[in-house]
């Protein structure tokens, strides 16, 4: 963390100086400002605000809206809802995990892709569905995945 990051965290902390139970609000602001809530951030907040690190860690691992590491360049959302599951969604997840070498909730080493599993993307008619950033792919087949990844900067 550099001085700029520390300044940002200090600002967030001072804006909640008089809030009762500010942990959740502080963490949400950190998530929006930095895109993730990392170990450095939480340790710094804990030291400055006297909120125990174990409590902050419990919160960020409980709620799905927090990330523990910076997100990749592209975010892959894969549906694990009923309809997609019935039409082979699980196979797509496995194939993506194999090609990228990461599981849901993780980011590739080169920071190109983050894999996230979601419950429903609202287009069950074209299941199984994969969403790359804001582009939706329907009736995805495991054999087509490499092609889709390539259009978004994958090898």
């Amino acid at each position: 963390m550099d001085a700029k990051d520390r300044k940002m965290l200090d600002d967030i902390l001072s804006s909640h100086r008089d809030t009762r139970d500010p942990a959740m609000l502080i963490l949400q602001k950190v998530q929006t400002s930095f895109g993730y809530t990392g170990q450095d951030h939480l340790t710094y907040i804990s030291e400055k605000s006297c909120i125990p690190l174990s409590k902050l860690y419990g919160i960020v691992t409980f709620y799905p809206s927090f990330r523990l590491s910076p997100p990749g360049k592209s975010i892959i959302r894969i549906c694990e809802g009923t309809s997609c599951h019935v039409r082979g969604g699980a196979r797509i997840v496995k194939e993506l995990e194999r090609q990228l070498g990461i599981g849901p909730g993780q980011t590739t080493k080169d920071r190109k892709f983050s894999l996230e599993s979601v419950r429903c993307l609202g287009c069950c008619g074209i299941s199984p569905v994969v969403m790359m950033d804001d582009k939706t792919y329907g009736r995805v087949k495991a054999t087509k995945l490499a092609e889709i990844l390539a259009t978004h900067g994958g090898e």
Binding site: L42, S54, Y57, G58, T61, F62
Partner: protein
């Protein structure tokens, strides 16, 4: 013939049975090892006799009672499955209500009187009606856990669940701070008792609960490990874990190796408090605490220990050393004997760490005295203590807790009954142990402070007045008025209030003491389970039966001073 297993349910949500049904693929492995003769949730056929009966749910009606008694009579082993069966859990909350109110709340005005299906009495756990052999707790039980215990039971190699991320990583920071705590997530039932003790009762916040639902796990923030975190090694997570998921890193093997090497001069230092809890597990039928201690001394000698030394005398010498220190330094001094307390100061209040006088701690005095007495190269010191925190002290060659001592004796199949006790005493008698063996912090801590104050007054032959006040529950304030000036002492027995008092001006106190364990070393982090109030009282009574009442602390202090002077002069 394969063992016959039956699964029965009483008043419950059937969630625990569902967990077994959910084992799916692994059930196939189990079925090869056992015959499931009754399992209502997945099969129709039932038969009576079985070797092992798993019981889910609690007992509500006379007909349930009849049924469970029949099952008990037919089963060789009975296992209570889940919290309803183990404790009564949610079902038992109904006992607060009159039966009629409970029936009306659920069935409205329907007339259910005289129907035996609705004949409710008090809700009871299984062991309130029949004998239970084993308990598997949890609401619901975790399927991995059921599998783990069942595999252990049938002698199959237990299969570690790889989906469970390894929880608490307890590696130490360097060689000096050896890792001391193990955590097995396969045993953890997520009762969160360790978290509550660590975070609320002790205000230490070393343990976190990560994730949610079935993926939740006890861990340290970012998996950084206990020592790198705020852990003070007090061991309260160990003595409060109901299923033994936490355990100390055992040093039994290490001790055996020390004893095997004949060139070693092995000295056992025993804190008698450690023996009060493990007396029930020691291999003897003797019930007199004093005789057990003496028989243990003989047994350890038979295991080739060269000397067995009592730890108490060093705690008394520490009082003398601290008394001297307090007179020369009028700043606030932290005089807790507990190493966890000094770790707490280092981690939470580094600015106060300089007020901790480690030189005067009983362990340091003990090491100095023993090294001086035995100027041999191969002096090996094994410390038997009620607390795991000493394991992080590299100065000892091995540290055994109350739980490990019986294991050490078991490895050599020692029976204490065959060893003599008449005329057996501790070695290295400095001239005061025969009267007052008591160990570390055995009772309410402020009784210790009285002794310390008595020491202060006697040291200079002063007339002094001691007043004992109480600021609130478990916070004691002692004032000691003498020609030397006024000494103020603060004793904190409740760690959750510590921050409040350390935050204010501590300069007005000369002495501050605090201990993480609620009844001092009687509930220390290395004691045997459990640490209920009754059990603690029993331990206290044992100690008392051995040491007897101290008639006059002042008389004792004059004896102590002469010994202390001798020790300082070099023994």
């Amino acid at each position: 013939m394969k063992p016959r297993v039956a699964i029965f349910d009483f008043a419950s949500c059937e969630g625990c049975e569902l967990q077994i049904a959910n084992l799916e693929e692994q059930v196939a492995d189990l079925v090869q090892a056992v015959d499931i003769v009754s399992f209502r949730e997945v099969m129709k056929e039932h038969s009576g006799a079985c070797d092992i009966a798993f019981i889910e749910g609690s007992i509500q009606r006379p007909m349930d009672e009849e049924r469970i008694k029949k099952i008990r009579a037919n089963a060789k082993v009975l296992v209570a499955l889940g919290d309803c069966a183990c404790t009564g859990c949610v079902n038992k909350m109904r006992n607060e209500l009159p039966v009629d109110d409970a029936l009306r709340a659920v069935y409205g005005n329907a007339d259910v009187r005289g129907n035996e299906l609705f004949d409710l009495s008090q809700s009871r756990a299984i062991d309130e009606v029949v004998n239970v052999d084993f308990y598997i707790r949890g609401c619901p039980v975790r399927k991995e856990q059921v599998l783990y215990y069942v595999q252990r039971f049938f002698g199959m190699p237990p299969q570690k669940n790889l989906d469970l991320r390894f929880g608490i990583n307890a590696r130490g920071m360097d060689d000096d701070r050896r890792s001391i705590v193990n955590f097995d997530p396969n045993k953890c039932i997520m009762c969160r008792r360790c978290e509550v003790v660590c975070n609320e009762a002790l205000d230490v916040h070393a343990i976190a609960v990560a994730n949610k639902g079935f993926a939740s796990i006890m861990t340290t923030p970012f998996d950084i490990g206990m020592d790198n975190n705020k852990c003070i090694s007090c061991g309260q997570c160990l003595v409060n874990c109901p299923v033994g998921a936490y355990s100390e890193v055992s040093e039994v093997d290490k001790t055996l190796k020390l004893l095997e090497d004949r060139s070693n001069y092995v000295v056992f230092v025993i804190d008698p408090i450690a023996l009060t809890s493990c007396m029930d597990s020691l291999p003897t039928d003797e019930t007199n605490f004093g005789i057990v201690v003496r028989k243990l001394i003989s047994a350890l000698k038979a295991m080739k220990a060269k000397e067995v030394v009592d730890f108490t005398q060093f705690t008394y010498l520490s009082i003398a050393a601290q008394g001297e220190y307090i007179q020369n330094h009028r700043d606030a001094a932290f005089t807790s004997w507990c190493p966890s307390a000094s770790t707490y100061l280092e981690k939470f209040y580094p600015q106060y760490a300089k007020f901790m006088h480690k030189e005067s701690s009983p362990e340091n005095i003990m090491l100095k005295v023993l090294r001086k007495r035995h100027e041999v190269e191969n002096l090996k010191i094994v410390f038997v203590t009620p607390c795991i925190v000493h394991k992080s002290n590299g100065a000892f060659d091995a540290v055994l807790t109350s739980r490990e001592l019986p294991r050490l004796l078991a490895t050599k199949e020692m029976r204490l009954d065959f060893h003599p006790h008449l005329g057996v005493t501790f070695d290295c008698d400095l001239g005061m142990i025969q009267k007052f063996v008591s160990g570390g912090v055995s009772d309410y801590t402020y009784s210790l402070m009285i002794l310390k104050a008595a020491y202060l007054s006697k040291f200079k032959n002063l007339d002094a007045a001691l007043t004992i006040g109480s600021r609130e529950d478990f916070i004691h304030e002692l004032t000691f008025d003498s020609e030397l000036g006024v000494f103020n002492a603060l004793v904190i027995e409740d760690m959750s209030k510590l921050r409040k008092y350390l935050g204010e001006d501590i300069a007005k106190y000369n002495v501050i003491e605090f201990y993480p364990c609620f009844r001092g070393c009687l509930t220390g982090g290395g004691q045997c389970l459990t640490t209920s109030e009754d059990e603690v009282n029993r331990r206290r009574a044992r100690l008392k039966s051995y040491k007897g009442e101290m008639e006059s602390p002042y008389e004792f202090v004059s004896q102590l001073i002469s010994v202390y002077d001798k020790v300082k002069g070099g023994i």
